[in-house]
């Protein structure tokens, strides 16, 4: 447990604060919705309610991360956001297909949802059309994926932020700011086992110390790809893996599907309390009013 010498930025969206020194704000948990498509809306609603309830009971902020895979799904997912999420509650949109990204942004703008939107993500595959659409419809916040195909070390992740490893004409930080996105979260790009997967965790303090930006990752990706775990109870591994993020100074976790909520939220709340106790005693970092330590031990 430690504190950074670099001043740490804190970004707010819809009443949730992300960033700061370890122990200052609770870890924000992003839970994935619709990864397998939008066929089971009722199931998704049930899981979303469960996540929001756990967030209330553990005092850990929750943000649903909506996977959007097909153009035809865009209206249904936007309807779901409008009807099922509390008004003003932030959400993120996770779009893999670069052709879909401008369409999603335009639709979010049309429904006046951009002020609640966390765009997941800007990465080295960014297209000119995506840049222009981001400029026209800037989301309130964006995640930059620090994936570097040339170098999967923590330094490689810094390089992609700084100069895109010379794959693009500018670094991803500058590209994001040029597009009008000022509230930036860094995702350290968890890779499959064997591809320096631990570097996603190691890169968290490196990037926070360098830029002072909020940092996190989707360590669940590594767990999911660890096929040898199939015969064991993976949810335990998932919950404990996500705990590594805050232990290394991270600010948020893309913890996997919503079905993992019941195991992840208590672990993260417990750990945030542990960290807060130490960093307040050693570094004098006060927990925010909404921090689980303040709420459980007023």
């Amino acid at each position: 447990m430690f504190s950074f010498t670099q001043k740490q930025k804190v970004f707010r969206i819809g009443g949730i604060s992300i960033g700061g020194q370890p122990g200052e704000y609770p870890t924000v948990l992003f839970g994935g919705v619709f990864f397998k498509g939008i066929s089971q809306l009722e199931e998704a609603k049930k899981n979303l309610d469960c996540m929001l309830e756990l967030s209330q009971s553990t005092h850990i902020p929750a943000i649903p991360d909506f996977f959007i895979r097909y153009e035809k799904d865009i209206p249904s997912i936007i309807d779901f956001i409008i009807s099922e999420l509390p008004s003003q509650h932030p959400f993120s949109v996770d779009i893999i297909d670069s052709h879909l990204k401008p369409q999603v942004l335009s639709n979010l703008a049309k429904h006046d949802l951009l002020n609640r939107t966390i765009y997941n993500s800007i990465h080295i595959g960014i297209t000119e059309k995506e840049r222009k659409t981001l400029h026209r419809h800037p989301p309130a916040m964006a995640i930059i994926l620090a994936f570097n195909p040339k170098d999967n070390s923590p330094d490689g992740r810094l390089e992609i932020l700084e100069n895109s490893a010379h794959l693009l004409n500018k670094g991803l930080l500058e590209i994001s700011r040029d597009a009008g996105v000022e509230k930036i979260l860094i995702d350290t790009a968890a890779m499959a086992p064997g591809e320096n997967s631990g570097a996603a965790i190691a890169a968290i303090p490196v990037i926070k110390e360098e830029y002072g930006l909020p940092v996190g990752c989707a360590i669940h990706n590594v767990v999911e790809k660890s096929h040898w775990l199939t015969s064991f109870k993976k949810t335990i591994v998932d919950a404990s893996s996500n705990a590594l993020i805050s232990l290394f100074g991270g600010d948020y976790a893309l913890y996997g599907p919503l079905t993992l909520s019941s195991s992840v939220f208590p672990v993260i709340a417990w750990e945030d309390i542990l960290i807060s106790e130490y960093v307040e005693n050693y570094f004098g970092v006060q927990p925010s009013n909404g921090h689980p330590r303040k709420r459980f031990f007023p």
């Binding site: 195909p149 490689g156 669940h220």
Partner: protein
């Protein structure tokens, strides 16, 4: 779970190398290269050498060392796709240029940095030997400042290497003649098109190396005509005769649009063929 690339990374690099090969081969170039597609020429080597950290500029933070082959896989790949009658030049960035391009946070001694790079790169040269036909060494910084230990540096790279060795120094090399002629390489490659004054300077000396004459500019999108290149080569031949063993662009073509680079190469080959009759 996200797959950040739909194709494997290896496939992407291979397709880029294939693109380089397609252009060089279509233009009729005899000596091919991998095009150094992966990185700019400093980062390409620094990325895989121990002791280097890539920031906006490369930083040296520990003992420089060789841990893994750097360009060998790419050279083997292009060797596997080129016709047997074509030759392959493997290019390494010279130790002095690497030393001058990096920020030294560890040795605090430029000479020590340069020798550390040279010793590390020697391993790469040995690994490359069986995959390439010609070894190229890029030392553009020699035209800016020529170290008194240049010969020792290149000795480390070229000693007991059986391949023909090119030394490419772009920029104005007039200030480093005749010292450059003492270097242990077989062929000197310079920007004779951008710096025609080099013709007069090289005429004043005798030297053991052969010459590679730069015939089209690498810093100008204007495409030199076949006639213009032919005249340039004829003039070079009138001065140096059989000393000239190779014709090439002045320097790497990284900064040129792909179609411009291709047309320059195409015209260069046409000019050579016109002269050969």
């Amino acid at each position: 779970m996200h797959n950040y690339f739909h194709h494997s990374k290896d496939d992407i690099w291979k397709s880029l190398i294939q693109q380089v090969f397609d252009d060089l081969n279509a233009a009729g170039i005899d000596i091919l290269s991998d095009g150094q597609t992966r990185d700019p020429f400093i980062q390409l080597f620094a990325r895989k050498l121990k002791g280097c950290r890539l920031r906006n500029r490369v930083e040296i933070i520990d003992d420089i060392g060789y841990s893994t082959p750097i360009t060998v896989d790419d050279q083997r790949y292009i060797k596997s796709i080129i016709p047997p009658e074509k030759k392959l030049k493997g290019v390494i960035t010279g130790p002095y240029t690497l030393a001058k391009s990096c920020i030294d946070l560890y040795y605090h001694d430029e000479q020590e940095v340069a020798f550390s790079f040279a010793n590390a790169l020697r391993n790469e040269v040995e690994e490359l030997q069986s995959s390439i036909d010609i070894l190229g060494i890029d030392e553009p910084f020699f035209s800016v400042s020529f170290p008194e230990y240049a010969q020792d540096l290149l000795d480390i790279l070229t000693k007991n290497i059986s391949l023909p060795t090119f030394l490419h120094v772009c920029g104005n090399v007039s200030s480093v003649t005749p010292k450059i002629f003492d270097l242990p390489v077989d062929i000197l490659s310079h920007e004779f098109k951008a710096r025609p004054d080099l013709f007069d300077i090289f005429q004043d000396y005798s030297y053991p190396q052969s010459l590679c004459i730069g015939c089209v500019r690498s810093d100008d999108i204007r495409i030199e005509s076949v006639q213009e290149i032919t005249s340039h080569i004829q003039y070079a031949l009138s001065l140096f005769g059989e000393k000239i063993q190779y014709l090439s662009p002045d320097c790497g073509q990284r900064s040129l649009p792909r179609d411009v680079a291709y047309h320059k190469l195409d015209n260069l080959v046409q000019a050579k063929e016109a002269l050969n009759g």
